[in-house]
């Protein structure tokens, strides 16, 4: 029984570890400035935790096999433990866990402690059951006023956001169903939600943040690769949660300027 148990535990361990090393299912392309650092820390954590995982499981397997009843005539070791060993492994794990944490804290700080850069592109991202809307402030650089009583979800676009046409700042606001941003320039997102909590998740950007009704949450990321990337809602928001997705389109600065100008022209 001890032998079978050892073999089963070892097999489970090796098969599980294989798929992590082979990366059969893995993170998508790393398309933001922060992604490389995050992915690197993922790799470090996998090496450290993977070593602990494999070592602990292999040891468990060996122990149950080696000390099975009837394996040897050796007497049971009447021992209540070893305080020195307890201290050694307490210190080792504390160093490992806290050290791992400190290694990653600088990335977190640069992602979340500082505000966006001055030249960042501003995009207001609004979640509602079950769609994302993206608003650009236009040439005046100011978002127009929105009013809940003006919202008309079925009309989509500006009406869905409740944009007040009487506010001069709203005249040049552009509302889009696709999020278009220029490459290699920081994007400041202002996250809002109308009804319930949604979460704005772009796996390729390694970016996720909840959109909470009543709050305007400012976050930033910098795309470094052009292309279309999927946006998915990552917080349960109701029956249509699974289909609340969108596209983040990263284009060159020129294409972005042209796209925005075209939208402005359409609006006039």
């Amino acid at each position: 029984m001890g032998l079978v148990l050892m073999i089963v535990i070892w097999l489970i361990t090796l098969v599980s570890t294989y798929f992590f090393i082979a990366k059969t299912w893995w993170l998508p392309v790393a398309a933001s400035a922060a992604a490389a650092g995050i992915d690197h820390h993922f790799a470090t954590s996998f090496v450290l935790m993977g070593t602990v995982f494999v070592a602990a499981q292999l040891a468990l397997g060996v122990l149950v096999w080696k000390y099975r009843a009837g394996a040897s005539s050796e007497k049971v070791d009447y021992s209540h433990g070893n305080p020195t060993l307890e201290i050694v492994w307490t210190v080792l794990t504390a160093v490992l866990f806290v050290g791992m944490n400190l290694m990653s804290s600088s990335i977190w700080a640069s992602e979340r402690f500082r505000p966006a850069e001055a030249n960042a592109v501003h995009v207001e991202v609004t979640g509602m059951q079950f769609a994302w809307y993206f608003r650009y402030p236009g040439p005046d650089g100011k978002f127009g006023v929105t009013k809940p009583e003006l919202e008309d979800a079925s009309a989509g676009g500006e009406a869905a956001l409740g944009l007040d046409p009487k506010d001069p700042a709203s005249k040049d606001d552009v509302v889009s169903g696709v999020m278009v941003v220029p490459v290699n320039r920081e994007v400041e997102v202002i996250l809002r939600a109308h009804d319930v909590i949604h979460s704005f998740f772009v796996p390729a950007m390694r970016f996720k943040q909840d959109a909470v009704p009543g709050l305007a949450i400012h976050m930033h990321f910098t795309p470094i690769q052009t292309g279309d990337f999927e946006i998915a809602c990552a917080e349960l928001c109701g029956l249509g949660h699974y289909k609340m997705h969108g596209i983040l389109r990263v284009v060159t600065q020129q294409d972005f300027d042209k796209w925005l100008a075209d939208r402005e022209a359409e609006k006039q």
Partner: protein, 573 residues
């Protein structure tokens, strides 16, 4: 005579229904949890089928709509967390064995004990009723995040179904609070002569610490639930700011959705330890019993459990890194969370240390205890990923989280429940469970649990999101469908093999081999009394304790185990 002593009842109703005997109440909790676990497992089966065959028509529910799927997952989570993982280890086995293991005739407050069971039972009925009301069960998930859970118009199931769901949890909290008071008082006041705190079995320590966590956590959830009910029905706005649903104003303003999350997780994180601590205590015990060796580092185990309980109240924010909470607090919560890994690692080392140079008997409860250690390591190792905000940016709300908490809080705890059932069945019912069926059940469940939950890590690494009723809408999620298929087939086999457990349980109740008073040759007090134990546990002969709980293979002793009530051990070592 102490106030808690009461005569053995004669009538059926007082003996088996409204019983004051902690043993009967323990069994009531156990069978409630057994019923609940099959309901919860059935719901997960339906979810697994729907995920890979979205158009299939299923028993009881017909065609599964997205909102049906969400109500299945809400009810699955709620039933499993409250009525299985909290109910069986603590209410069931804790009730039955805590008084016996400390040499007490009953719980400190037998009437309160009875009330706490029937309150819990009522909570379960109210929860199930949510399936049958107009609109069905709620779709807001077991975490019930507001405003989704606070607005009738936010979706189907958010009407009466959601009110029943909240009411059920509130009722459960009341029952759990009564139970916690009882456990704490009993442990502190009713230990037999010589049963010092540091001679208590680790199971008793675990139930005691769990009860303290319950006392501090369930009160908060109860309050939060009442506030949520008021938001829903009395027009208050604790958790709801000015929101519109489908363009319509709801009349709420000024509330904070994050407040609900803080209150919920202030309960929710200690709840994880409420589920796992009893399993830790029990598996420590079993590793010692079946290695025929004292537990490695008894004191370290006690301190580790105490620090897990203490730190468990300071880490709730790690569920909220992406919630909009201040990023500075995330840093603090992260450090505390990594800190909780330290006592968890100590426990793992000590379990391995207990096996080391022992003489292991592979009984069915021992197999489940060894399985528990393996699963605890696997489920624990993914914790430090999620505890770091930088990695949680990507992993939050993916299946990586599902894999993590199912392995450590679900499967590992359930392995504790299985181990406890196989271990204590002879004492509870006077018969042994079938060994061959038990072993078959272990192998299928152990391999099956890994086959279900290990691939969920991969699904999460590829950003596969939880609580998605279908994978067809988002292209990258659709490409992960083969993994879902594998998981569903693994779930079929694992769930089917649980029938072996039920068959074994009920077959052994009537046909099992007669058990002796101490079939495992264990040392704790439940094994000195008759099988099954008499009404006052020790037939009037309260034991006096002379030894620690894990005196195995003492050099010079006549047998390889010394009971806690035997003459004092004077081993030369």
């Amino acid at each position: 005579m102490d106030a808690h002593a009461h005569a053995a009842p004669q009538g059926f109703i007082r003996k088996y229904i409204f019983s004051l005997d902690h043993k009967v109440i323990g069994l009531q909790y156990f069978f409630l949890a057994l019923t609940a676990v099959f309901v919860g497992m059935f719901l997960s089966l339906l979810m697994r089928i729907h995920l890979i065959w979205p158009t299939a028509s299923l028993p009881f529910f017909g065609e599964i709509k997205p909102e049906t799927y969400l109500s299945l997952l809400t009810m699955h989570g709620t039933i499993m967390v409250f009525f299985v993982l909290t109910t069986a280890p603590q209410g069931g086995f804790g009730n039955y064995f805590l008084p016996i293991q400390i040499g007490a005739p009953d719980m400190a407050f037998p009437v309160l004990n009875m009330l706490s069971f029937w309150t819990t039972f009522l909570g379960f009925i109210v929860l199930l009723a949510a399936f049958f009301v107009s609109g069905g069960a709620p779709l807001h998930g077991w975490t019930g995040y507001a405003p989704l859970s606070a607005l009738q118009s936010a979706g189907p199931g958010e009407g009466l179904g959601a009110d029943l769901w909240i009411a059920s949890i509130a009722i459960f909290c009341i029952g759990a609070l009564m139970g916690a008071l009882n456990f704490i008082t009993t442990t502190l006041d009713m230990r037999a002569k010589g049963m010092t705190m540091m001679r208590m079995p680790l199971t008793v320590w675990a139930w005691f610490i769990t009860a303290i966590l319950g006392l501090l956590a369930f009160g908060v959830l109860l309050s939060a639930g009442i506030l949520l009910l008021m938001d829903r029905n009395l027009g208050t706005s604790f958790f709801v700011p000015l929101v519109t649903v489908n363009g319509q104003l709801t009349g709420h303003k000024g509330g904070s959705p994050l407040l609900w999350q803080h209150l919920f997780w202030f309960f929710g994180h200690p709840e994880v330890y409420i589920a796992i601590l009893p399993a830790m205590g029990l598996c420590s015990q079993l590793l010692s019993v079946f290695s025929r060796k004292p537990i490695f580092g008894y004191k370290a185990m006690v301190y580790a459990m105490l620090s897990i309980g203490f730190l468990g109240f300071m880490v709730w924010g790690h569920h909220m890194f992406m919630s909009g909470m201040s990023p500075y607090t995330a840093f603090a919560f992260s450090i505390m969370t990594m800190g909780i890994g330290v006592p968890s690692a100590i426990k793992t080392f000590n379990w391995l240390g207990t096996l080391w140079r022992g003489r292991i008997r592979f009984t069915v409860p021992m197999l489940f205890a060894i399985g528990f250690v393996s699963l605890f390591v696997t489920g624990g190792i993914s914790g430090p990923f999620l505890a770091q905000p930088v990695l949680d940016i990507y992993l939050h709300e993916t299946y990586f989280v599902i894999a993590h908490f199912h392995l450590i809080m679900g499967v590992a705890s359930i392995f504790g429940i299985f181990a406890a059932t196989y271990y204590w069945f002879p004492k509870m019912f006077g018969r042994m469970m079938n060994d061959t069926l038990g072993k078959l059940h272990f192998w299928l469940t152990f391999v099956g649990a890994y086959a279900i939950f290990m691939p969920m890590h991969y699904y999460g690494m590829a950003a596969g999101l939880r609580r998605y009723s279908q994978s067809t809408e988002v292209a990258y999620i659709q490409s992960l469908l083969p993994l879902q298929r594998f998981i569903t087939f693994a779930a079929f086999i694992t769930i089917a093999s649980q029938l072996l457990f039920v068959i074994n349980l009920f077959w052994s109740l009537w046909k099992g081999k007669q058990a002796s008073d101490n079939p495992w040759e264990a040392t704790t007090l439940e094994w000195i009394t008759a099988t099954p134990p008499p009404h006052d546990n020790f037939a009037g002969q309260t034991p006096v304790v002379h030894n620690g709980p894990y005196e195995y293979s003492v050099p010079g002793a006549p047998r390889d185990f010394v009971m806690q009530s035997d003459a004092p051990v004077t081993a030369a070592h």
